[in-house]
Amino acid sequence: MNPKHADEHEGAASSPLSEGAASATLRRSSEPVDFQLFLQCVRDYAILMLDPHGRVQTWNLGAERIKGYRREEIVGQHFSAFYPREDVEAGKPDAALAVAQAEGRYEDEGWRVRKDGSRFWASVVLTAVRDGAGKLVGFGKVTRDLTERRQAEEARLRLVQAQEALRLRDEFLSVAAHELRTPLTALQLQLERLGATTLPERAGSLLDRATRNTARVVALVDTLLDLARITGGRFALAHERVDLGAVVRDVVDRLCGQATGTGAHIAVRIPRPVVGTWDRLRVEQVVTNLLSNAVKYGEGQPIEVEASEGGREATLSVIDHGPGVAERDLERIFVRFERAASVRNYGGLGLGLYIARQIVEAHGGTIRVESGRGAGARFVVRLPLDPPAPAEEAR
């Protein structure tokens, strides 16, 4: 690897590269000078010339970036310096030159080594350069660092795998929820039948508790199923004429009928019917989630529910006077699994508000909370009275 070794073709092999110097081929061509400038400046490809023996003659910015050597460090060195040791020992560099010389070009993808010893995955093209008489003048080498492309591909693959894993999970969640519903159906029917028989007094209250808790399991399973449907994009609405006032009163009756433990009083202020075209069961779910939260977090204080309509829109407000929601949590509580209170102190899956928002937005509506620390909370739902056009309906 003696840079000063004289050889047959014009000076480029032994002279250090300077700004004005060019490879033999370029000097003989009629290319404009700024083509050379372009080569020098290209950052993304290492573009260099080798002499017929494989020694580096020219260097560009891309080569410096990709391989790590500065021009003065590498010119005159043999290009096998770029190969991993095992490839050099196997004779790969010389074999590459031989192929390029015989067939005109050699193309390869493989590991290359930088100045600091680190490896990168490269795409390399070696081209035999011949003068007008056909004599070999050297080789053109273009190297591209594929590390970024490989990393991007790997990231894409991981993304696809992650999405697939999520899809499998949601599918499983859906299957599991349906499987759970079957014995729950049998259980609920049996408990109802038991309730219809004549029972000793003590048995009656035991049965009540069993029935209530079965209903809680059913509700949890339904929530899991909703989550799987929402994330799986299978969240469809069944529209019908619904009186929001009637739905609210039903939910309030049901909640008051259950032992809430906090003794909170719920005042319903809905003077006139509020009728819209909505999915009754889903709207009921929203009202239930909001009222359950008000009961859960309202610290026994009174709760108010208001509903009215105006401008082809229904407005539902659920107001509690508990500790309220901190400003930094106002948006966060609608996010899946998020909650502003600690998991330990308040049970539940943390999905109530998330699902409520999905339902409301699927109807083309909005839901938000107004609150302040210690000032209670007012959840406001706006629902258009008429269903959104099919293209707008979410998912």
Binding site: H178, R181, T182, P183, L184, T185, A186, Q188, L189, Q190, E192, R193, A196, V218, R229, R234, A236, A238, L281
Partner: protein, 125 residues
């Protein structure tokens, strides 16, 4: 409530043994005759081979061998059976879209309450 068909009570078509037996028992407890089939194919056999004439068919959707939708298609093709009212009882709430094309009388979702079930049966039988 008399109908052309319907002297043989309710035909319960449900693959889950527990639910099927509970439904039959509770229908009988409330004064209705009840017959059972564990899938669509069984149901057709009871209707055609055994000459069963129910006032109503309580139909589950997800069943092996022949599911609810396939049974309904067969039933609608058969003039002798097409007139029997069908009430679907399914764990799949989203099935309501699929069911719309089936021309059933009612669509109930599991879990169903005793009262709802009995009132539907009373309407049809």
């Amino acid at each position: 409530m008399s109908r052309e068909h319907g002297t043989d009570g309710v035909l319960v078509v449900e693959d889950d043994t527990e639910i099927r037996e509970i439904l039959v028992e509770l229908l009988e407890e409330h004064g209705y005759a009840a017959a059972a089939a564990e899938n669509g194919l069984e149901a057709l056999k009871r209707l055609r081979d055994d000459g069963l004439k129910p006032c109503m068919i309580l139909l589950d959707l997800m069943m092996p061998v022949m599911d609810g939708a396939a049974f309904r298609t067969e039933q609608q093709r058969d003039l002798a059976l097409a007139g029997i009212p069908v009430v679907v009882l399914s764990a799949y709430r989203e099935a309501f879209e699929e069911v719309e094309g089936m021309g059933v009388k009612r669509f109930l979702t599991k879990p169903v309450s005793l009262d709802t079930l009995l009132s539907v049966v009373e309407d049809e039988c």
